[in-house]
């Protein structure tokens, strides 16, 4: 008897909804999934990452983000989740390197560290909501003020959307990322599809 | 409609054998039973606003006695039996309607909890039935009992003797009964302090209308009890929270049973005139503001529409909030206090209305004899020290 699943591809939590996602270029609003990114949750005793930032900077190719912000333009990028709490995100398949690099930057292994780094790549999936109506769609369930005066590209926040906890990350003038726990992803996507009804 | 004066709005006297602080349902019932059963008629009931204008005017009037633990079942059943004779006792139409109270179960832990409760109730002499989803549908045809909804109905406990009453009439009936027996009902009279002997015993209350001497003082102020206890220098394990409720416009009858769903926080009945009367879950934060947060209402209504699709077109006409005093074990506190001559009846949380006659009766006896009524004994303050709590939260809805 040999292992049967060898080399099997990962499967996204919303794979079954993929055909329903409106992803027409130029549409008023588009929704697509960016599945399987590498993700590491970092928790630092050093709440402002003043010591950690420079050490991780070189590896991450970006600084550590300020509160309420994201750092990094492409991959990897780092999201501020709370004081001393970050989510580093990188290309699919790079979790091992990301984790090792961050642990290295922490300066020690788990025994005597100044924080923790945990691979949570499969804990959340990333949805991309974009288009001129993206902000309007979010306003149907997101309680944050996403007006350019108070939010904007490079900002991120943990909040609630459709009764699910999400990390909301604005990447462009009309482009948002939603990082949602995989077990809630089906609900959130179905909710988004409903909220998008008037716009697509 | 009028049958003469219901009660007299009295000026405060110099002193009374018993001063009851709070002219809500419990305060009025306590006064009534003090006068009726113990011959203690030199009684004043002080109300800082208008009579029965607090939680009594704000509750959803559900009456039932199907509590889990023996001690609770005993006192609530005592209350229900008093309810059953109260209209005759008072000679006043309370619109008391034993239309039955149905508690829905939406998951397997709810079912276990419900069956446990029904069996305990029956052995305690409390009427109770377990209904399967078909029985539930027969009883309340407008309920959505489809197994495919998000919170399916897996059954329910039913207490046929449960029901509703008209809260204002209950207050006025008790006020009339007390007034007729010589009790002074004094409105717009706020207690601002207590006068005490050097030994600490209370001899009277300071009020917005002057000092009133008192042989005994009975606190009956629901959400404001902590404020009074603060004045007296003792602590109570109470937190005051907003509890919201709402009514619809008048609608033709669609619901003749009280339906409760703890899992989704929907409590609904249709009153005699036709309005749907609904209670929500309590707001999490402490508050004396008599208002809660609107999202609590939205969540409650969403759940209600799912349970009762026919409600989709009804309108929320009016929402409001009361202040409920919640104890750690969701059971009341009744009995003497650390302060001589002062008694307390509080911590009824969301259960106060249904307990009105029972609490009044047991509390009156406790005050009259300066010792807890047997039914009140388990509900003393000391239980928080000994650990003998009477935990009516219901089993935590979590598992495996």
């Amino acid at each position: 008897m040999t292992a049967m699943a060898e080399g099997s591809a990962p499967r996204s939590a919303v794979a079954h909804l993929a055909p329903d996602l409106p992803d027409r270029p130029g549409g008023a609003v588009r929704l697509r999934e960016v599945a399987f990114p590498a993700q590491v949750e970092l928790r630092l005793d050093d709440e402002d990452a003043t010591a950690f930032g420079p050490r991780a900077g070189q590896f991450l190719c970006c600084g550590m983000p300020a509160p309420g912000h994201a750092a990094g333009a492409g991959d990897p990028y780092v999201l501020w989740l709370g004081p001393g709490w970050y989510l580093a995100v990188d290309r699919p398949g790079s979790a091992y390197g990301l984790l090792a690099g961050l642990r290295d930057a922490l300066g020690a292994d788990c025994g005597g560290m100044c924080g923790s780094a945990v691979d949570v790549s499969a804990a959340r999936t990333v949805l991309e909501l974009s288009g001129p109506s993206a902000r309007a769609v979010l306003a149907h369930g997101c309680l944050l003020d996403l007006h350019p005066r108070t939010f904007g590209p490079g900002r991120c926040a943990q909040t609630v959307l459709a009764q699910a906890q999400v990390v909301l990350h604005q990447t462009g003038a009309a482009d948002y990322r939603l990082l949602v726990r995989t077990s809630y992803a089906d609900h959130l996507v179905r909710w988004l599809l409903d909220a998008m009804t008037e716009y697509v | 409609m009028p049958d003469g004066k219901l009660w007299e709005d009295r000026e405060p006297g110099n002193s009374y054998d018993v001063v009851i602080v709070g002219a809500g349902g419990h305060g009025l019932a306590t006064a009534y039973y003090l006068a009726r059963d113990h011959g203690i008629t030199d009684v004043a009931v002080l109300e800082r606003g208008w009579l029965a204008g607090g939680n009594m005017a704000r509750n959803t009037t559900i009456i039932r006695s199907n509590y889990l633990w023996d001690e609770s079942a005993a006192i609530y059943e005592h209350s229900l039996r008093l309810w059953e004779g109260l209209e005759d006792d008072l000679g006043h139409d309370l619109k008391f309607s034993q239309r039955g109270v149905l508690n829905l179960a939406h998951n397997l832990p709810d079912v276990r909890e419900g069956v446990r409760r029904v069996n305990a109730n029956r052995l305690n002499g409390v009427d109770a039935e377990w209904l399967d989803p078909d029985d539930v549908k027969k009883l309340v045809p407008i309920l959505n009992t489809s197994p495919s909804v998000r919170f399916p109905v897996l059954g329910g406990t039913f207490q046929p003797r449960g029901g509703i009453a008209r809260h204002d009439q209950v207050a006025w009936g008790l006020a009339k009964g007390a007034d007729e027996r010589g009790v002074h009902l004094i409105q717009n009279c706020e207690v601002t302090g207590f006068r005490r002997t050097p030994g600490g015993a209370v001899t009277g209350v300071e009020t917005s209308r002057g000092f009133i001497g008192a042989g005994r003082v009975a606190l009956c102020a629901a959400g404001h009890t902590s404020v009074l206890a603060d004045m007296l220098g003792f602590r109570l394990p109470l937190q005051s929270h907003p509890l919201q409720a709402l009514v619809s416009e008048l609608l033709e009858q669609v619901l003749d049973t009280v339906v409760m769903s703890n899992a989704v926080h929907v409590y609904v009945s249709q009153a005699h005139k036709g309005e749907l009367v609904m209670g929500a879950g309590i707001d999490a934060f402490n508050g004396y503001g008599q208002r809660g947060s609107f999202h609590v209402i939205e969540q409650q209504i969403a759940a209600a529409v799912e349970l009762f699709p026919v409600f989709a077109r009804a309108h929320v006409l009016r929402t409001w909030g009361g202040i409920v005093d919640v104890s750690p074990d969701a059971s009341p506190i009744i009995g003497p206090t650390p302060v001589e001559n002062v008694f307390v009846n509080c911590g009824w949380g969301t259960g106060g209305f249904k307990a009105t006659p029972g609490a009044g009766h047991v509390y009156a006896d406790t005050i009259a004899h300066a010792r807890p009524h047997p039914l009140a004994e388990p509900f003393g303050l000391e239980r928080f020290t000994t650990g003998a709590l009477i935990d009516e939260h219901g089993a935590a809805a979590v598992a495996h």
Binding site: S12, S116, D194 | R116, L251, E298, V316, R318, A388, H393
Partner: protein, 877 residues
């Protein structure tokens, strides 16, 4: 054909170029776009639009807006709606409506309309787009503010370059704490069948505003007189407005009755519109310049005189007004007692009103403690008005038309001893109706003041409560309906379970397979088959829902020693231990397994429904009590999919899947990193069934692959999937508890037979509670096992335990000794777990389990019904 009461021209709100048709009470009529149902019916001379709820007396349109007390109708076309004000209902082609008598109907047909919600933010929210509101909005926009203007009318002609959002047909219904407002926008109702299906009919707005401008205007109030409810009687300002806005004559010959200048102004307006004014009568002694103007135009103006009654034809419709001994024929009696600023949203936020004689109204007094501006006529319209109360008259004087409540009722309330207006409101029901008492509140206070001989300001007004206008339940539910009502959490293997016929159970927010019936199998059959498969061969459970928390840091072990009742710090890396968590009250609230992955790193599991609560609990202690502890907690519940593999053949299956794992050197209560089915996995050798068992964790996106691999590898061994029901049978046979099922918040670890998992030395958070007198009692309820005397009987979970079979008729409470917490027919036959008073001393006793009036004899046993020796955990080989 637009109705005989339509003027030849005019009407600022209607489009005369188009004609619509609608049906009211079965008759079809015409209207113009812009008409309300009320204006359209008046245009056709339809006077009776409702009946009093208790008197059954006919009632007509009384106002133009939200203050309408009479004209509530049932909309029958489209999605339908009960209790809609005809004065607010825009006519569209195909509208069907019918009259009501103060009580609506809920129809059975499902409401399939779309409803949504929006969360909005602004610097300034302007409520009301009249002159004052418009000016305030433009000024705010010009100052660079983000502004939202809401008005309940269809058109708001306001434009500005800047951050301006205009919401027509939007009623702000509530003013809540910290600048939070709720509003309802009616988006497509006025389009009828032409409404786009994809557009939400109505939208609930949640607006967080830094500042609010109340430009809500003022509402006219009536004067009281006998028989003041007949169709044909309406507010004077409204009568004039019907002419101006809709080109509709509310009557041809009017009597105008007032107590202030507004009535006189309305008389002039009506006169201009071509209505014959039979006479104007004012309770004031002098009508001043406006009276003179009316006289100049030939109108009879009576001063110091009141309408004292009305007459009607057999249809109940107004035919005459009585003014003392004079009978004046008329088909319109326009009344006005003054103007009440609409301060609903002012008082909702805690603002106080005060009586102003100069305005003859309650005007803004002490403001609420929020940034608020009240502008325009919401501040009050200056002008004195006379008080008027009919005395000892014949006929019914209605104070609240909507509730059919009369002045006699107010007098009765006073006779009953009521002096507070809140009592009078409750006694009479005045002001409690769907019209929110807009036309009745101030007259009621005025009447009460007069009857008590006090000033209106002393009486005050009753509390106005949100919402300002009734909100349909469906609007409040928004899109939280059906599948979207609440999240249902799915495991990565969910689809597989569905395809394989699983029936699901709700566990917290999760959907978990309960059992997998094969064709023809009952639940009992399926569960017993699954149990036997697990006991004899191998079976797999989707355990992905277990809560999982990664705990790291140099102080992690010390921290967990304080949180768990047992000792975690002595655990060697690579090993696992069962742990119980209690509250500070010493009662069990969760249990699970703590695995030490490295000296400073643990992987905890929690019950499925409790994961968030446990993580919150850990964070609370770390952040608020022991910030000096260097410990970091991370939820990894969603990171890992888990397959629990149980049964004597599980080792064979694992061996096949993980050739690199030395299963022989993998002891019980240990954990290993391994490649399983080619996937990176963390494997725990722990057992919740008593059998040889493993829990295989892989990244969630590989969960389905792992599951399928397990099923394939297990096929030669006869593997079967099993659900939560079988999981329960297996664990209960071993006497393992479920927190929340075999405990209920009143059970200590000792009560649950878990004293072995409690450190005697204490040091954990609830330890002290175990030494309280009641908690230390010897005769507390303890976990026991039960066997029904009749093996064919499966006890009900929730059955109560008693010493003797109770009598058929229970007259006195029967002492209860405990209750059945878990009961199943398992591989050991029928058995149960129970909490029983003094249970550990009762083994072998016979008791009775009572359920639904039936008492079954049971024998008290050990809670462990299966494999007491624990031999099975290493398999049968």
């Amino acid at each position: 054909m637009t109705g005989s009461f339509r003027t030849a021209s005019g009407g600022t709100r209607i489009d005369r170029s188009r004609t619509l048709t609608f049906t009211f009470d079965g008759t079809t009529y015409t209207a113009h776009p812009g008409d309300t149902l009320a204006s359209a019916l008046l245009a056709h001379g339809v006077r009776v639009v409702a009946q009093g709820p208790y008197t059954g007396r006919p009632r007509g349109v009384y106002s133009t807006g939200a203050e309408e007390p009479n004209a509530f109708v049932q909309v029958e076309s489209g999605p339908g709606e009960p209790m809609v004000r005809a004065t607010r209902l825009e006519v569209h082609d195909g509208l069907r409506a019918s009259s009501l008598s103060g009580r609506g109907r809920l129809v059975d047909a499902p409401d399939t309309g779309r409803y949504d919600k929006v969360y909005a933010h602004c610097d300034v929210l302007v409520i009301g787009a009249g002159t004052a509101g418009r000016a305030a909005a433009l000024a705010a926009v010009a100052a660079g503010a983000r502004v939202i203007v809401a008005d309940d009318r269809p058109g708001i002609g306001i434009e500005a370059s800047g951050e301006l959002t205009v919401l027509p047909r939007t009623t702000v219904t509530g003013h809540y704490d910290h600048g939070y407002f709720v509003a309802v926008e009616r988006r497509t109702d006025h389009l009828g069948d032409a409404a786009p299906a994809r557009t939400a009919r109505r939208r609930l707005w949640h607006v967080r505003a830094r500042r609010v401008v109340l430009a809500t205007g003022a509402l006219e109030r009536p004067v009281l007189f006998p028989d003041n409810d007949r169709p044909g009687i309406m507010l004077a300002g409204a009568a004039a407005a019907y002419v101006r806005r809709y080109g509709v004559l509310p009557g041809r010959r009017a009597v105008v009755f007032g107590a202030h200048d507004g009535a006189l102004q309305a008389a002039l307006d009506l006169l201009d519109a071509g209505v014959e004014i039979a006479c104007v009568t004012d309770v004031r002694a002098s009508t001043g310049p406006l009276g003179d103007r009316l006289r100049e135009r030939g109108v009879t103006v009576l001063e110091g005189r009141a309408v004292t009654g009305t007459e009607s034809g057999p249809d109940g419709i107004l035919t005459d007004a009585r003014i003392g001994g004079d009978i004046v024929p008329c088909d319109l009696l326009a009344v006005s007692g003054g103007w009440n600023p609409d301060l609903h949203l002012f008082t909702q936020a805690g603002g106080r009103t005060r009586w102003s004689a100069e305005h003859a109204a309650f005007i803004p007094g002490a403001p609420p403690r929020v940034p608020i501006d009240v502008v325009g006529s919401a501040r009050g319209i200056p002008g004195e008005a006379a008080e008027h109360l009919p005395e000892g008259a014949d006929g019914l004087v209605f104070v609240d038309l909507h509730r059919d409540a009369t002045l006699a009722g107010v007098r009765d309330a006073l006779q009953a001893g009521m002096t507070s207006n809140e009592h009078v409101k409750r006694y009479t029901t005045i002001g409690t109706g769907a019209d929110q008492g807009r036309t009745s509140g101030v007259p009621a206070s005025g009447a009460l003041a007069r009857l008590l001989g006090r000033a209106p300001g002393e009486i005050g007004t009753t509390t106005q409560r949100p919402p300002v206008e009734p909100i349909p339940f469906a609007v409040l539910a928004g899109r939280d309906r059906g599948d979207l009502l609440a999240p249902a959490r799915r495991t990565p293997m969910h689809g597989w379970h569905e395809e394989h016929g699983a029936l699901f159970e709700d566990v917290g927010e999760w959907k978990r397979p309960r059992y997998y019936p094969r064709p023809g199998e009952s639940m009992d059959d399926a569960v017993l088959r699954e149990c036997r498969t697990a006991r004899a061969r191998v079976a797999a459970l989707d355990a992905s829902t277990l809560g999982k928390i990664d705990v790291q840091g140099p102080d992690a072990a010390a921290f967990l020693d304080r949180i768990y009742t047992g000792r975690i710090s002595t655990l060697a890396p690579g090993r696992c231990r069962y742990g119980v968590m209690c509250g500070t009250d010493g009662m069990i609230f969760d249990d699970g397994v703590a695995a030490r992955l490295a000296p400073g790193r643990f992987h905890l599991t929690t019950t499925s429904g409790n994961a968030a609560r446990v993580l919150d609990w850990l964070e609370e202690w770390l952040q608020t009590e022991w910030p000096e502890l260097r410990v970091r907690c991370t939820s990894v519940t969603d990171q890992w999919a888990v397959v629990a593999l149980a049964g004597p053949r599980s080792r064979d299956v694992l061996t096949a899947l993980a050739p690199g794992l030395d299963v022989a050197a993998f002891p019980f209560m240990a954990t290993r990193e391994a490649e399983v089915a080619g996937l990176p996995a963390r494997v725990f050798r722990i057992s919740y069934s008593g059998e040889l068992a493993y829990e295989i964790n892989v990244p969630s996106w590989h969960g389905l692959a792992l599951w399928e691999a397990v099923m394939a590898a297990g096929e030669p061994h006869g593997i079967a999937p099993y659900g939560t029901e079988t999981m329960h049978v297996l664990r209960a046979e071993k006497g393992y508890i479920v927190a929340g099922q075999d405990t209920d918040g009143t059970v200590t670890p000792h009560d649950a037979g878990l004293g072995w998992a409690v450190k005697a030395a204490g040091g954990w958070v609830g330890h002290r509670s175990l030494h309280r007198p009641d908690t230390a009692r010897a005769d507390r309820k303890r976990l026991v096992g039960l066997r029904p005397r009749d093996p064919a009987v499966v006890l009900a979970e929730g059955a109560q335990l008693v010493a003797e079979p109770p009598p058929a008729e229970i007259t006195h409470p029967v002492p209860m000794l405990g209750h059945v917490t878990s009961s199943y027919r398992g591989t050991v036959g029928s058995f149960a777990l129970a909490l029983l008073k003094g249970g550990d001393e009762r083994e072998g006793e016979t008791l009775y389990a009572v359920d639904s009036g039936r008492a079954d004899a049971v024998t008290v046993t050990s809670p462990v019904h299966y494999d007491r020796e624990g031999a099975r955990r290493d398999g049968d080989g």
